[in-house]
């Protein structure tokens, strides 16, 4: 094993897959001169050349559409949308084109496309740069949705996403890029649709995604003397590893879902729906979603802090569920 940042893990995945398959190319804004806002693409232009690392004008609809068009004609684009908030300017190419072209064509087209973007708050970037929009994509048939929380998952899942023949929305978190984690020295992939129990426990299941995995783990640790918390990270929302979640809830009887996205209509609600439908008899108390406030993200730090689940609010929610 070796320790790398989440950003570096992404870069390794891209490097390896680009070396493996010359159909893979990168496209997005400022990816040559800056390596993207996250810096995850730094050095790739130098390594692979301008033909395979394509810096675009400020035109998401054009370059995401280009990516879809390239995918259906045999390439394997990895497009970067700087912030997930900006999918609003190119959503048609994702929702009505990428997600639907295969089905509408009766299976004739194949769309091996990855769209990477970053979501989340915590940096005082305010309402248009802090959203978590995975629920939109998960509600769109034809898209896979991936949300890695650790460096190891980032690398292994991105490699799978690139090899997948379907459109994959790959959602990173802006506060994770600099975080470090262990990854294997040798090559590996993590299949899409495989949850991971990040911490085993007996009393309550906490399903958390992206940055919230780390907050949930911290909460679990701080409660270790009181409650045995199992933390499950689905890692991919579509496909969703319900078996893993069910097994956990059947053991613990209690479910808390922690997501950064606004609570109302978030993907957590769908996890609650499925767990309730499929494990009703096991539930000893009502499952709950602890999510972001149903508010645009405010700029000012104390307000922003109040909008995002944090260790204390997770701890409190766990306590109230097990009491």
């Amino acid at each position: 094993m070796k320790e790398v940042t989440y950003a570096r893990a992404l870069q390794e995945a891209l490097t390896e897959e680009m070396e493996r398959d010359e159909a893979v190319f990168l496209i997005g804004e400022d990816i040559v001169n800056l390596g993207g806002v996250s810096g995850a693409l730094k050095g790739l232009a130098a390594r692979f050349g301008a033909q395979r690392v394509r810096q675009t004008p400020l035109s998401e609809a054009a370059f995401v559409g280009l990516s879809v068009g390239a995918a259906i004609t045999g390439l394997r684009p990895v497009a970067e949308i700087m912030y997930v908030d900006f999918v609003t300017v190119c959503l048609d190419q994702i929702i009505n084109q990428a997600a639907k072209l295969r089905y509408m064509s009766g299976g004739q087209l194949t769309i091996p496309l990855v769209i990477r973007s970053q979501g989340g708050g915590g940096t005082s970037e305010a309402a248009q740069h802090s959203q978590s929009l995975e629920a939109w994509f998960a509600h769109t048939p034809g898209l896979k949705v991936v949300m890695p929380a650790t460096a190891a998952d980032a690398k292994g899942l991105l490699k799978s996403a690139i090899r997948d023949d379907n459109p994959v929305i790959f959602l990173e978190h802006k506060l994770l890029y600099a975080t470090k984690g262990e990854i294997p020295e040798e090559e590996y992939v993590i299949p899409l649709g495989q949850a991971e129990v990040k911490r085993p426990g007996e009393d309550i299941t906490v399903v958390a995604t992206s940055l919230m995995v780390h907050k949930a783990l911290a909460a679990a640790e701080s409660l270790a003397d009181e409650v045995s918390v199992e933390v499950v990270d689905p890692r991919t929302l579509v496909p969703l590893d319900m078996n893993c979640i069910k097994a956990s809830v059947q053991k613990t009887g209690r479910l808390l879902v922690v997501q950064e996205a606004c609570t109302r209509g978030g993907f957590g609600s769908d996890i609650v729906r499925r767990v309730t439908e499929e494990c009703f008899a096991s539930l000893v108390t009502a499952p709950q979603v602890l999510g972001g406030a149903n508010l645009p993200m405010p700029f000012s730090r104390p307000l922003e802090t109040a909008c995002i689940p944090r260790e204390e609010t997770i701890t409190a929610a766990i306590r109230s569920l097990v009491s």
Partner: protein
């Protein structure tokens, strides 16, 4: 222009085929509607045939096109089998998109047919990608992208023309200006006479052609294709034309009759027939015979479509994932 006789005859065959296909499609649609079977949106290409034919007849099989909601003509001109198309219109399992797509979504990647689109302007960015693949692979394939006058008002027009020209992508953007977007006349869509004039702002050639003159379209597209194959980037071609039918079957038509008649006088088919007669390329008898053959093929397509089976509802989830 120096066009081979075979090509000219093929153009005539394609013009006849599209016209006959649209007639039959409307008839089947109406019959079904009266029988309580509503077949979605059907957009007739009648009147605009010369654009698709002039643009596609000389494309190679490995060249690609992006079609529109009004796409039957494009599909036929790019070589699609009218049987499979007709079956698609009826939602049959034998359809060109296995009944999943319908009139607006006909695909045949092995013919370079990357599909129609129900979202106006959405094909323009997709065409960038098809052209990008050719450039990336170093082939000389070109991509032709059709869109309407109304659709040219979408933001994707701007983003795509800019990127295509900036990267010199081998794409030909063909605006089918049929004077209306549903009921909205071009004068209420944009304050300039020609969409093609906008090409200047992107640093690429813009050409206005008579879209009812198949040879004019052929010539303009031919030049653009040459430019694209040579690595000199995109061209914007605006074809002025007119649709004969209402926007789609269910939308009332209140266009001016004088205007409609005026355009019918410039019908692309008799014009081209006359040209072929004048140039002694085909005789009236040959034309009649060709028309006859086409009509039979369309009747056979309709019969094929009608006897084909509907998809089995148990297969509904097929084709979602690769």
């Amino acid at each position: 222009m120096d066009i081979q006789r075979d090509t000219l005859v093929e153009m005539l065959r394609l013009l006849y085929t599209i016209r006959a296909f649209e007639h039959k499609a409307r008839q089947l649609y109406e019959e079904n509607r009266l029988a309580g079977n509503f077949l979605g949106a059907l957009h007739s290409y009648e009147g605009e045939e010369a654009v698709a034919v002039g643009a596609c007849v000389d494309l190679r099989k490995d060249d690609r096109i992006l079609s529109t909601h009004r796409g039957h003509g494009h599909c036929i001109a790019k070589g699609a089998d009218v049987k499979l198309m007709m079956a698609e219109l009826l939602g049959k399992e034998t359809g060109i998109s296995k009944g999943r797509g319908g009139s607006m979504h006909m695909f045949s990647p092995e013919l370079g047919l990357l599909g129609g689109n129900g979202i106006m302007g959405a094909g323009l960015p997709l065409a960038l990608g098809s052209a990008f693949t050719a450039q990336y692979r170093g082939t000389d394939q070109v991509t032709v992208c059709f869109f309407g006058d109304g659709s040219s008002c979408q933001g994707t027009f701007h983003e795509s023309l800019n990127l295509a020209s900036l990267w010199k992508l081998p794409v030909i953007y063909i605006c089918e200006n049929n004077q209306y977007a549903v009921t909205t006349p071009v004068a209420e869509s944009f304050p300039v006479p020609n969409i093609a004039d906008r090409a200047a702002g992107y640093g690429c050639p813009g050409v206005v052609v008579d879209g009812n003159d198949v040879l004019a379209v052929y010539e303009a597209v031919g030049e653009a294709v040459g430019r694209a194959r040579a690595g000199n980037g995109p061209t914007l071609i605006e074809c002025k034309t007119y649709r004969y039918q209402p926007h789609c079957m269910v939308i009332p038509d209140r266009r001016d009759t004088a205007e409609m008649e005026e355009w019918q006088e410039r019908d692309p088919i008799p014009r081209f027939e006359q040209y072929l007669l004048d140039q002694h390329i085909t005789s009236e008898a040959e034309q009649m015979q060709l028309r006859q053959q086409v009509n039979e093929a369309i009747e056979a397509a309709a019969a094929f479509a009608q006897v084909s089976s509907l998809p089995d509802p148990d297969t509904v989830a097929e084709y979602l994932w690769a």
